[in-house]
Subunit: 323 residues, 2 copies
């Protein structure tokens, strides 16, 4: 892949720990690009992490994720907390896909030295979002963020995996979008710690809240000890309404987790997901190297010809990887 | 995992080949559930496939994918072709998330014996969409479908992988959604063989078509021989307008691929993706089995404590898998 450009990692990590935005941005870029230095970077960051609390925000397009994220940033900043924002969402304004108005609205935080905003575009990176997101979170953690908001669009497998990395997950809904049902389908209901019904001034908000409460009453998990019951918060993020309630709900969840000695769950889940993703990426790279493009192509040709079924072909690939 | 229920695969495959809808549905359910019989099923189907042509449809939520899919089904049926529809999309009406109107509209095909409609809900299945979709396509192929339409929402890594499995891929846009930019971001531009600007009776349609044509002129791929230039078709799917043009564009692409001796590319791509996905799922299962929940949890704990970086932890996992 060409020569590896020299990177003074120790310097970058030291600067990032001082909160130098350029250094933070550079380190996340390394993560995003699947830099050959990731292994060193992980080792350099490891001792300086463990402070940041990760809050995931997810929901279908149009529910107001970016607006809510922005309003949360304002509320957390007013409270003196350092905030990171990681937008893992191809339709996010941070990745360039949305209306100017949204971009400008988030732009107000762009000049605040207590806020780091970053979009993740990890398409094609080996290990994908599952590997890159925990790494980026570790960079923001080392940079002194108290809270990192991870915004993802609530569709697609990778996105659900990312949501599962948070300490506290907020699922956003909006009235009249049939989102309750969608959320249940997408397995999002199970990962939600807090629900926010945004655009709560619109018609149908009461029905959405009711539907949600009903679904929650059916989904009580009583097995394995006491369980947290996700609160439902009403917000109008564009007007800042209900955002304090949302912050309170987030803090309540954190307190509950602390009281039940479960604060370690999120960090362990992230570490586990990252280890698995890195190991799988390694094995996938071995699949591509060892069996070689030609060999895999030949196997595919035999499957197409009906001479071999794909499981038998996969067996050959696995055998060659396990050498 | 409990006992494996007895399944008369030979009978199911024979019935599916006769076009018995229940048998087709049952086989796709086996695929979707990650049945332990998948290996036998793949072997049983292998000799009976290779006929169906796979057309992918993708685009952001709201561009009218389901309506376009439904209109395409009508046009292909009028032409006497047997059609399969695979909806890989959590927001699809087939998976229960959309408006009643859409569902009713697609419902008209539900009673047509020449149409198989199926949604894929593969969350949690090892190998995910990348493995399950080609398998489901093979079932529909064996069932005698001439064309299988795969509808996916154009966001998320898994969805892009699914789109890449088609012989011909249609990217849908709608005026005024800034989708041109979004499509480029999402890497969708590269996989599009045909563009459809739907809702072409709305304001801004001309601008969307122009923007698209401009982007296409910048993206000409001349390396490695002649390349297909994706046509841009205007449609108003809800009124059936432009659907014949869309069918013509699909057929033109097929003819061009045949003329350039490239019809084998799609099937080989699907076989390859499937082999890789199955091999990776196998390796992932080995990661979980061999290293064991406790062992992986212990590694995660050491990473959280800063004693070990995730790459070193992943090395241990890979070593144990390669054992």
């Amino acid at each position: 892949m060409g020569s590896v450009p020299a990177v003074d990692l120790d310097r970058l990590v030291a600067d990032a720990r001082e909160g130098v935005p350029r250094a933070v941005g550079r380190l996340i870029s390394l993560v995003e690009d699947g830099s050959p230095h990731l292994r060193e970077l992980a080792a350099a960051l490891a001792p300086h992490t463990g402070h940041a609390r990760v809050v995931g925000l997810t929901g279908s397009p149009g529910v107001g994720k970016s607006t809510t994220t922005s309003a949360l940033v304002s509320a957390l900043r007013a409270d003196g907390r350092r905030v990171g924002v990681l937008a893992v969402d191809p339709s996010s304004p941070f990745s360039g896909g949305a209306l100017l108005g949204d971009r400008v609205r988030m732009g107000e935080h762009a000049t605040d030295p207590g806020v780091f905003i970053r979009s993740m575009a990890t398409r094609g990176h080996l290990g994908g979002l599952a590997a890159a997101t925990p790494q980026a979170l570790r960079v923001l953690d080392a940079a002194g963020c108290d809270v990192v908001l991870v915004e993802t669009v609530g569709v697609g497998q990778s996105e659900v995996e990312v949501v599962a990395l948070a300490d506290t997950t907020v699922v956003l809904l909006a009235p009249g979008m049939g989102d309750g049902v969608q959320a249940a389908k997408a397995g999002i209901l199970e990962v939600a710690d807090v629900f926010a019904v945004n655009k709560a001034d619109r018609e149908g908000a009461d029905a959405t809240v009711r539907e949600l409460q009903h679904m929650l009453s059916l989904n009580r998990r009583e097995v394995g000890g006491p369980s947290w019951r996700p609160p439902v918060v009403r917000t109008v993020a564009s007007a800042g309404t209900g955002i304090d309630d949302l912050v309170t709900a987030l803090d309540d969840h954190r307190t509950w987790m602390a009281d039940h000695d479960r604060l370690g769950e999120g960090p362990r889940r992230r570490a586990r997901a990252e280890i698995e993703a890195i190991a799988l990426a390694d094995l996938r790279a071995r699949i591509r190297e060892l069996s070689g493009r030609a060999a895999l192509g030949e196997l595919a040709g035999r499957v197409v010809a009906g001479e071999l079924d794909p499981y038998a072909a996969a067996d050959e690939v696995v055998s060659s990887v396990r050498g």
